[in-house]
């Protein structure tokens, strides 16, 4: 999911058919002020006979607020800013507060200062273009992630730079495919979206 948020942030920027457009796309991250999108996530796990599917919505507003919502009414909510992340389970009336210093820090835009910074974090495995879209395969450079991840495949619309979807493949053989629809960039977003009344909730500090 964290990766989904990151990749969605690239949706409104340009993507071309080689590394130069990727470089340009990352350079234009500064233009993002907000994002709103729907998504469908399909988890194909080795331990499940059939894939499981979940639907949700995502909002982002500069300089660092976001909301990731699974189900409608929400089964699971993640609210974040540049200081903390709150994971809320409305059905159980529980919430967990986590420091943002690790794991969620890539949600602060611009994600990468430049293409060099992007490359410092990700190894680009391949770039293919065709049918008006770009297929980019990357792998995080961090050793811990590489131990579990096979690759991350992203699909962008070449004309609009919109992120169509991405797929995370693990070495263990499972895959999580997230597809975005109805993506809107730099649209006004109600600040209330990023708040949640926790009255009556059991809140604990996560690690």
């Amino acid at each position: 999911m964290r990766l989904a948020l990151l990749l969605l942030a690239f949706a409104g920027t340009a993507l071309a058919d080689d590394l130069a457009p990727v470089r340009e796309w990352i350079a234009r991250q500064n233009t993002i002020t907000s994002i709103a999108s729907d998504f469908t996530q399909t988890r194909t796990l080795r331990t499940l006979r059939d894939p499981v599917v979940a639907h949700g919505k995502f909002w982002f507003r500069a300089p660092g607020s976001f909301r990731w919502q699974l189900g409608d009414p929400p089964k699971l909510l993640v609210l974040g800013d540049d200081r903390a992340v709150l994971t809320i389970q409305p059905a159980k009336q529980t919430a967990e507060r986590t420091a943002t210093t690790r794991g969620f820090d890539f949600l602060q835009f611009p994600f990468a200062a430049d293409f060099a910074a992007f490359q410092k974090r990700f190894e680009v495995l391949s770039v293919r273009t065709g049918d008006g879209r770009c297929h980019l395969e990357i792998l995080p450079r961090e050793a811990k992630s590489r131990r579990f991840l096979e690759k991350i495949a992203l699909d962008f619309d070449l004309a609009s730079g919109r992120l169509l979807g991405f797929k995370v493949l693990t070495r263990e053989g499972s895959a999580v495919r997230t597809e975005f629809t109805n993506t809107r960039v730099n649209v006004p977003i109600d600040p209330a979206i990023f708040h949640f009344d926790l009255t009556g909730y059991r809140v604990r500090d996560g690690k």
Binding site: R46, R49, V52, L70, L76, E142, R147
Partner: protein, 793 residues
């Protein structure tokens, strides 16, 4: 013929004894063996090193500029090493469960067996036919919704929720044993095919592994490091062997140079060196028979012993120059003097044997043996050879060096220079202050060691554990260890709440609870028969075969254990790897380990609050603090007693208050100048500097005592005494300084500190005693002329 046969037999016997003793020599590289064993920190760290340091496991580090190259290099090197089964039992470059995840089932089954029976019973209810489908529906919901990759991975392979009974920390890896976060630093663990019985085995094996690594096709930019217990043993033992030879050889060379300068004769010089070699070999063989394994400090014995024993040789040779009688007369003439000085020196060194510092105690015993052997060799063998030499190629006294040493100009200039030296050293002491104090464990480390350097690098790259405290809990039975672990966890929790500790982790989750195991085994055993039902329910819920692996392995493990006696210990490869640094249960000794993160500045309070019978909270920093707290006081008491003894003997021998006061003043001045010299050279005062003071009181004070005795013999004529003893003191001091000085460059920093302090102290003592004590005596005579010179001192 009979005598010859007897001689031959005796010679063979002596040679056999010497060879036997030498063959028994072995080294102990553990610096903890240099420290008082009764200290809690020493006890705890010794247990940590003995049971958790893994003596047969070499740690190979692989480092490169990028993670891909590093990973490929580590895999390739691991495969190369694994291809030598005659040398290597196992090479581990990745956690064993990555290769075979099902092995984790055993450890999980074990941990669940240790849970409170009521808790496990509640969980088992979720597996019964009424609840199992709902349990799996919950798992499916988690797999659909969860954002946490760990939860998704865990629930997929554990839909029945066996792992939910354990704390999350059981699955959260706080540090990676195999790779740095950036992947540019990797670690391979290499276990020897056979146990490394002694230091020679360790040296050979580590060399063989290094040779394989050297011949391996190393990718460009990849650097390797070798550390771990076998590397430490190989590194330190190797340097000990070399240093004993090097420092001993250096001392011999310096002594030879001194002898040559004085007497300019090759034959007696070679004879004297041969005598010293015999003394060394015989002493070492006696050490082999009577002493435990030699510590790094004992390496210095060769130099110290040679430096002291040669004095008897000088004395015998000097007497032989002035002797015209029989050999028996010469021996008689030398015996009284040598017996007196040798027995007092040996007594002082044997007194070190009573020290609570085992390293120092062993050094004292070795040197004590050495000077006794040296005296016997010089009187027994060298006296005869020196007399024969004097008969064949006589030396007519006084020799040139004697003439120089007794000349008024030399003594006058010596006095002025000595005064200037004292002035400089005292000024340094007063202006720069006393030397800094350092009792940390690093003062006992080797100066240069690849194994230490690689370990420092590994610590820096895989997670800095400096400042952490190691917890060691021991006990006679598993129940006792478990009880102590629970009590320790309670104390640690209180310490966290009080603000003394930030966090802690103990081996309690991995320690068997026999009573609970017994009760739980009876409860879980029937579930073996439920396997087909649980399997089918899982498939019906939409899961695949892969999702049943963990549950199946736990249930089968429980079934296997149901007929076994408690306590049950997990034993497969993955369990052994997890437990290797946390739990030991071989033989009679049962140990559990842990780690505690203290709040800075609260370490002492934490150690005091948590430590107890069979419970040690230790670190190398804490060891330094404990040494600083306890040892100096103990050492001061030993020094005070020894000094009081010396003063008492002098009081009886000299029967002069003035001489006693002068002796006390000289000793105080020597110690003050020594402190000034250490300050001036930027040195520190540590454990071994204090030991050096002890040695100085035993050997260095001889110079002032000899002078005071000579003044008495010369009826109060201090300058006559000075002329008589000038050459003797210079020779003895030079050889002793050569002996101690040669170990100033020893690889072990503690030994080097001992050598440097002793060499400095002896030189200062000789200079002050020889050049300043006689004028001081005369000054006192002039200021207080009431005493009759003939009776003084």
């Amino acid at each position: 013929m009979g005598n010859k046969l007897r001689g031959l037999l005796l010679g063979t016997l002596v040679l056999a004894l010497v060879a036997g003793g030498l063959s028994r020599i072995s080294f102990n590289v553990d610096i903890l063996h240099l420290l008082p064993p009764q200290l809690d920190q020493v006890k705890g760290l010794s247990l940590l090193l003995k049971y958790f340091a893994l003596p047969d496991e070499l740690v190979v580090t692989v480092e490169a500029a990028d993670p891909e190259t590093t990973a490929a290099a580590a895999d390739s090197l691991a495969a190369t090493l694994a291809a030598h089964p005659n040398l290597v039992r196992e090479v581990v470059a990745k956690p064993p469960w990555e290769k075979n995840p099902s092995q984790l089932g055993e450890l999980l089954a074990f941990q669940l067996l240790n849970q409170p029976p009521a808790r496990l019973a509640t969980f088992l209810q979720s597996l019964d036919p009424q609840h199992a489908p709902a349990t799996l529906r919950n798992a499916l919901d988690d797999l659909t919704d969860s954002l946490d990759p760990q939860t998704v991975a865990l629930r997929g392979y554990d839909p029945y929720g066996f792992t939910s009974l354990l704390p999350t920390s059981a699955f959260t890896q706080t540090s990676d044993e195999f790779s740095s976060t950036d992947g540019k630093f990797r670690v391979i663990y290499v276990e020897s095919a056979t146990p490394l019985g002694n230091y020679a085995d360790a040296i050979r094996w580590v060399k063989a592994i290094k040779d394989i690594a050297a011949n391996w096709k190393r990718p460009a930019g990849v650097t390797l490091g070798f550390t771990g217990q076998p590397a430490f043993v190989a590194d330190i033992s190797g340097s000990m062997q070399g240093e004993m030879a090097l420092t001993g050889g250096t001392t011999l060379l310096l002594i030879a140079a001194i002898f040559w300068l004085c007497y300019r004769r090759v034959r007696p010089l070679l004879t004297l060196l041969a005598m010293l070699a015999i003394t060394f070999v015989v002493s070492l063989s006696l050490a082999g028979w009577f002493l435990d394994r030699l510590t790094v400090i004992s390496v210095g014995f060769a130099s110290v012993m040679i430096g002291l024993s040669v004095d008897y040789g000088y004395f015998v040779f000097h007497q032989s120059m002035h002797h015209a009688g029989s050999l028996a007369d010469l021996r008689r003439k030398c015996f009284a003097n040598i017996a007196w000085t040798c027995s007092t020196t040996a007594a002082v060194f044997f007194a070190l044997g009573l020290s609570s510092l085992p390293g120092l105690s062993q050094l004292g015993n070795l040197v004590g043996i050495g000077v006794l052997v040296g005296a016997a060799v010089m009187l027994g063998l060298f006296a005869s050879l020196a007399r024969r030499n004097q008969q064949h190629a006589p030396i007519t006294p006084p020799v040139p060096a004697e003439r120089i040493a007794t000349s008024p100009t030399f003594l006058r200039w010596g006095a002025w220079l000595a005064l200037a030296l004292v002035g400089v050293l005292l000024s340094a002491l007063f202006l720069k202050g006393p030397p800094a104090v350092d009792f940390s464990a690093k003062t006992m480390r080797p100066r240069v060691s690849d194994a230490y350097a690689s370990m420092d690098r590994l610590t820096a790259r895989l997670g800095d554990d400096r400042g952490l405290l190691n917890l060691i809990v021991t006990g006679a039975t598993p129940e006792e260890v478990a009880q102590r672990l629970r009590e320790t966890e309670r104390r640690l929790q209180t310490a966290v709440e009080r603000g003394d500790a930030a966090s802690f982790q103990t081996a309690l989750p991995l320690w068997p609870e026999p009573k609970q195991q017994r009760e739980n085994l009876a409860r879980v055993a029937p579930f073996g028969k439920e396997l087909p039902r649980l399997h089918q329910t899982l498939l019906d819920a939409g899961f695949t075969e892969s999702a049943f692996g963990l549950a199946e392995s736990v249930l089968r493990q429980w079934q296997d254990w149901s007929q076994k006696p408690v306590p049950i210990w997990p034993a497969n490869e993955a369990s052994a790897w997890t437990l290797r640094r946390l739990v030991r249960h071989e033989g009679a000794q049962l140990l559990a380990a842990g780690l505690v993160v203290p709040m800075p500045g609260h370490e002492d309070a934490l150690v005091a609050a948590v430590g107890g019978q069979g419970v040690y909270l230790v670190s190398w920093d804490q060891l330094g603090r404990e040494i600083k707290r306890i040892v100096p006081g103990e050492m001061a008491r030993v020094i005070a007693v020894l000094f009081a003894g010396v003063v008492l003997i002098l009081a009886i021998g000299l029967r002069s208050l003035r001489a006693i006061l002068l002796f006390l003043a000289t000793t105080a001045l020597v110690l003050a100048c020594l402190a000034g010299a250490i300050t001036l050279l930027g040195g520190t005062i540590g454990l071994f500097s204090l030991a050096a003071v002890l040695l100085l009181l035993g050997t260095g004070t001889d110079y002032s005592i000899l002078l005071l005795l000579a003044i008495r013999r010369n009826g109060g004529d201090a300058y006559a005494a000075q002329r008589t003893l000038g050459l003797v003191i210079l020779l003895c001091c030079s050889s002793a300084v050569a002996g101690f000085g040669s170990i100033s460059w020893a690889n072990n920093l503690g030994l080097a500190e001992l050598g440097r302090t002793c060499a400095l102290g002896l030189a200062i003592d000789a200079v002050i005693s020889l050049f300043l004590l006689p004028p001081a005596w005369n000054l006192l005579q002039r200021c207080f002329p009431g005493r009759r010179p003939g009776n003084a001192p």
